[in-house]
Assembly symmetry: C2
Amino acid sequence: MHPRIIDTLKRSQLSVTDSRKKILELFLQRKAALAHADIEQHSGDEFDRVTIYRTLQTFVEKGILHTIPSADNSVRYALCKDACTEGHHHDNHVHFMCDVCGTTYCLDHVTVPAVQLPAGYQVHQLDLVASGTCIKCQ
Amino acid sequence: MHPRIIDTLKRSQLSVTDSRKKILELFLQRKAALAHADIEQHSGDEFDRVTIYRTLQTFVEKGILHTIPSADNSVRYALCKDACTEGHHHDNHVHFMCDVCGTTYCLDHVTVPAVQLPAGYQVHQLDLVASGTCIKCQ
DNA sequence: AATATTTTGCAACAAAGTTGCATTTGTGTA
DNA sequence: TACACAAATGCAACTTTGTTGCAAAATATT
Ligand SMILES: [Mn+2]
Ligand SMILES: [Mn+2]
Ligand SMILES: [Zn+2]
Ligand SMILES: [Zn+2]
């Protein structure tokens, strides 16, 4: 088991349970983002579908995972790298979704550029999602 | 009925049907983007749920509507303004989703800035979605 | 070890999306 | 205008996805 797992859970004041450990482990192994369906597939009958929903929700609230918007009705989740805390995310990096293999990447080193919106729009979050062909699928 | 409706359909080589006219009209009246559910709600029993699915899909394929990614598993659709054609979209403007009223706006005059991705990522599309509080909800 | 708290699985349900097929509607042509 | 062909629609049946309440199990606290 990845050494960071227990730490991460405790720092967020979450009790350390099997499902949380395993789901977190899955995200640490895979470097890419995962949709609910990916986790469900990958974990077989290890735990209930409902538990996955609740775990993902908890992790997002606690700042362990962030969501990545998509145009295919299937939100992806990925590990927060920065110091995200309960209700306060700072994942302002670009995401890339490959049309070929379906992988979603966090491009941690590519920052979302500032944009000048018309007066009156108060921005709380900015998401930039690129899609196309990834390195592996060229 | 809005004068552009028949034109738009014919230009895309689509037969002019009641549902297509009414769904298109809805998008022309409302300036904002609409989710499937919005259309369903707004049209009552005028046409079947399945017809809405199929119409939206057709309109996207034909370049009449474009999709807007979201983090809440509910893709929004909005009219293409530019010369989008079958299978070729050019809606490279920023979108704004209001957390308060839920409205999604096409900010037609705010262009998505170019970003420099790591070598090897071939970008086909760039989506920038801002969220926060809109003008009306301040 | 005993107790209090939290999480989980299950069941039942609601909502969202898909597919095949008969019927209806629209289009082009005679 | 009427006809024939093609396309779109509605319906039914179904699958998938997401939600909720509650008892049982697991975890944390003392
Ligand atoms: Mn990310
Ligand atoms: Mn738009
Ligand atoms: Zn790929
Ligand atoms: Zn608003």
